[in-house]
Symmetry: C2
Subunit: 209 residues, 2 copies
């Protein structure tokens, strides 16, 4: 299966719509984040070299670098999410003809599910990182591109919420309580930071309107 | 310019990130809606023919049809949004060497801006339509795919909010007050319906968890 970002946008959408479970919600969450990062980069570029924004040039260069790194990572996570899910399916299909095989299968399933929780957790973290870049761009970027900044904010927070659903659905089947607690704690922290930054962006858009 | 959905996903993201203003926030809003529609179709397909869902087969067929129509329309709106923006740029660049040309240019700009407001208005309307499909799927679709339904809901509402920002940025420059009032009224109605359906989906996910 897997996800090929060199395939066309319409082929990707057909793949999402098909009855194959991958690419599914986790991949789409990462792609929403990647689109938000793309818009953020665009607004940085529309601020660089523009009259009236001389004082923020260095900062915009730095923010553009961060936004492009996040876009690259989020694009990778589109495929990694599908791959992690496929590992879970593979583990479920493994041999269970003997008690030893059964035990190994159970362990493989648990291992694969932890992987399938960690990928969307990182997607959520990167959407949170992106929102902190979007916040600065909303405060100092080209005022003519504020609607694009707003779209970046809406898509990043949707990417976070979507990633969170995908973490939680996997956590529900994981028996390692310490792992589950650690992931839940991180998720709550990231959610708070992401929602705070999202609210800050909406405020900046209102103020600079 | 324009947007080619037959180009690769990574080329599309590069285009978004470039300093060219199209594809921008309006196109990305429509694509977020199209991805949400794709996930909705996937969940309908994962419900069709499945044991325990015999009673909802006919309804799922109907919902799949609606979701696929909305996906098709939202995919078209990705390109239409960029084209409408390009018309605004073209109108701004038109001749203004005589008083008559100046007057014609002003009218062409106003006309193009109305077009550039109407496209994201439709994107918002289609995201609202999609949310009403997602709501029914969240209540009766395959319970194993509820996280995908949730992602569809988060991306559709983000698509709506994003589209709204793009309508508003154009309305700000339109002088035809009757047009502006009409669009604002429609936008408020659509927003209420979209947010209501989004809340209903989250409730259904909670109840069927």
């Amino acid at each position: 299966m897997g996800v090929d970002l060199e395939a066309s946008v319409s082929a990707f959408l057909e793949d999402v719509a098909s009855e194959r479970p991958t690419p599914g919600g986790g991949s789409v969450a990462a792609l929403a984040g990647a689109m938000a990062a793309g818009l953020t980069s665009m607004v940085c570029r529309l601020t660089l070299g523009k009259k009236g924004y001389e004082e923020v040039q260095e900062e915009m260069e730095r923010l553009l670098g961060e936004s492009e790194s996040l876009r690259e990572r989020l694009q990778e996570l589109v495929g990694e999410d599908a791959a992690a899910y496929d590992e879970v399916v593979k583990a479920f299909r493994s041999d269970r003809s003997t008690p030893e095989a059964k035990e190994a299968r159970t362990q493989a399933i648990q291992q694969a599910m932890m992987g399938a929780a960690q990928v969307p957790l990182e997607t959520g973290e990167r959407c949170r990182d992106l929102l902190s870049v979007v916040k600065l761009v909303s405060e100092r970027g080209n005022v003519n591109a504020l609607s694009d900044v707003g779209v970046a904010a809406h898509l990043s927070i949707a990417g976070f919420h979507s990633a969170r659903l995908n973490v939680e659905v996997n956590l529900a089947s994981i028996k390692d309580e310490a792992f589950v607690d650690r992931v839940r704690e991180e998720l709550e922290k990231v959610e708070w930071e992401a929602m705070q930054a999202h609210a800050d962006v909406l405020l900046a858009l209102e103020m600079r309107h």
